[in-house]
């Protein structure tokens, strides 16, 4: 899978918040063999003061995708992205502009505006968006080359609330990498997203808050692989009626 100019092998991207400890986080990263981890940046880290934790992440050898989690305005998101570029020395930014305090859904108007600003500044933007096709088009126009539609509200673990919309996105944007971001709760959710033809899955809470994060990370990786393989294998269509799986023709007549 190619995202911007980078070739990626693992289709599971992992967030780094809410783990019981950095040691548990590192175990989880190792057990799912993800290549990309997201890291949120806060203002108090602007002077590089989060380095203890970041050093731990760097030691895993994964590629860091900084995010603008918790930003509620275009200006905040743009400033955070610029800080992240300085601190992590990467043009990648996972862009979140949160529009609602309760369900943390993206403010898609602010998102498009921030994406336009950041793409013009040379960022490679990974926008956290809804499953709205028109918003997706505007983000591509703004310069994004990947879309990250939600499956369900962040941290809710509800799975894919609207699989039809994601299917529609796949059909509408056949050549754009689509990463389901947010809402995955169980391995079956991740598998379903991949079966729909999504290119990858990004999740955090489902692993971090599992009783055994490393085991859940591995389960998620396996689910992503299974879903991808299933999608590529071109699944059969569903029918309303039964069809015997053993042919009737040529059966012995036992009368």
């Amino acid at each position: 899978m190619q995202i911007y100019d980078t070739e990626i092998n693992s289709r599971l991207l992992v967030g780094t918040a809410q783990y019981p400890s950095p040691a548990v986080l590192v175990d989880a990263i190792n057990s799912c063999r993800c290549e990309i981890v997201t890291v949120s940046l806060r203002r108090e880290n602007a002077d590089g003061s989060g380095t203890g934790f970041w050093d731990t992440l760097r030691q895993t050898g994964t590629r860091i995708l900084p995010n603008t989690a918790g930003c509620h305005s275009v200006q905040e998101a743009v400033t955070t992205a610029q800080m992240a570029r300085e601190l992590f020395r990467t043009n990648w930014i996972k862009l979140e502009v949160i529009g609602h305090a309760d369900n943390l859904q993206p403010d898609v108007f602010g998102l498009v505006e921030a994406a336009r600003i950041l793409c013009a500044q040379g960022f490679q933007v990974f926008p956290y968006t809804t499953d709205d096709l028109v918003v997706g088009e505007k983000l591509l126009e703004a310069g994004c080359e990947v879309l990250m539609p939600w499956g369900a509200p962040i941290g809710s673990g509800q799975g894919l609330r609207n699989p039809d919309a994601l299917r529609g996105m796949r059909a509408h944007f056949p050549n754009v990498p689509l990463i389901v971001d947010a809402g995955i709760g169980r391995p079956s959710d991740a598998c379903q997203a991949m079966e729909l033809g999504m290119d990858a899955v990004l999740l955090n809470t489902a692993i971090a808050k599992a009783g055994d994060p490393a085991a859940m990370a591995q389960a998620m990786a396996q689910a992503v692989d299974a879903g991808r393989a299933g999608y590529l294998a071109d699944p059969m269509e569903r029918r309303n009626m039964a069809i015997p799986s053993t042919p009737i023709l040529g059966m012995a007549e036992l009368a």
């Binding site: 019981p20 400890s21 950095p22 040691a23 548990v24 590192v26 806060r42 203002r43 108090e44 880290n45 002077d47 003061s49 989060g50 380095t51 203890g52 934790f53 970041w54 050093d55 731990t56 918790g70 941290g155 808050k209 009783g211």
Partner: protein, 313 residues
């Protein structure tokens, strides 16, 4: 003579365990009074091993279970348990918390009102950890220092640490590999119109809150967990979350006076467990993360056994 650098929680607890074994002990601290430089000043003072088991290793629960009895030797310990509650919309978090912890029982609205009449009618579901306790961290540091002086330990304040000491308990100042700061923010409220008698935890997806009674209408609320070495005062975002969570516990907190806000850096190793380690020839006790009052007694005893094996118990 055993010399200790750092008169914070780890240093004082270690001095106590050594002195109990009849070692002579001298503690050096750059501050002017017990714990004045210690991040323990900003601690909640919860002795809540079973609640911590939700996200901590089993060892925290095992070692922490001894803490209340240890502290009761030197300072008042309030043994009224911990009450964990959640808003109706966060009930899944309560279910999960119950599944991940032990030594609790579910309580319904009526029993919550019995335990804490001030919360009457406010929460329908909760968990009660009857065996847990809390103390006042600043008083505990003072009382511990007083006990040490009574035992003949020399506590030298405003005193630079000599180049050679037997034990280093200087927290974030120690510059150990893999030791990282985890920033925490807190506030102290004065709200005499509410009487809450035990530690409360409010589960919340963004920021779990704890509230610890300090007596005389004072309540400590905390605490954030931020991977940062910034020592700036608490941010408005953090305070907004903490204070609005207090308001969720009881609307009367709206009229509370905010008498103090503070931020500190908890020293932590990657597994968030404390360690006794030797680095560059010096012995260290460090990395108490958010479990200082909970784990200092057990770790200090382990350390004393290690460096003063001939001592009495």
């Amino acid at each position: 003579m055993i010399t200790i650098a750092g008169g914070g929680l780890a240093g004082l607890a270690s001095a106590y365990e050594l002195a109990r074994r009849e070692a002579s002990v001298r503690v050096f601290d750059p501050g002017d009074c017990p714990g004045s430089n210690s991040v323990a000043r900003f601690a909640g003072g919860m002795l809540a091993p079973w609640c911590e088991g939700e996200s901590a290793e089993d060892e925290v629960v095992t070692l922490g279970a001894l803490a209340a009895d240890w502290w009761a030797q030197v300072t008042p310990v309030c043994r009224r348990g911990t009450l964990v509650v959640a808003s109706p919309r966060d009930t899944p978090d309560l279910t999960r918390f119950a599944r991940r912890t032990s030594a609790h029982r579910p309580v319904k609205g009526a029993e919550i009102s019995e335990l804490e009449p001030a919360l009457s009618g406010r929460f329908q579901h909760g968990l009660f950890f009857e065996g847990e306790a809390h103390l006042d961290p600043r008083r505990a540091l003072r009382d511990l220092a007083q006990s040490l002086q009574d035992m003949g330990v020399e506590l030298l304040y405003d005193t630079p640490t000599p180049a050679l000491v037997d034990l280093d308990c200087t927290g974030m100042a120690a510059d150990l590999p893999d030791l990282r700061p985890v920033r925490g923010e807190m506030a102290i409220l004065h709200c005499p119109e509410i009487e809450i008698t035990r530690t409360l935890r409010l589960l919340h997806p963004r920021m779990p809150l704890y509230l610890v009674p300090r007596g005389d209408g004072h309540y400590m609320i905390g605490g954030t967990m931020i991977e940062s070495s910034s020592t700036r005062p608490p941010s408005l975002r953090s305070l907004t979350e903490l204070l609005s969570a207090a308001f969720t516990l009881h609307p009367a907190f709206a009229e509370a006076s905010v008498v103090e806000i503070g931020a500190g850096l908890r020293p932590a190793f990657p597994d968030n467990l404390p360690r006794i380690i030797t680095h560059n020839g010096r012995l260290h006790l460090n990395g108490f993360y958010r479990h200082g009052f909970l784990l200092a007694p057990a770790m200090a005893a382990r350390l004393a056994d290690q460096i003063f094996p001939g001592g009495k118990r």
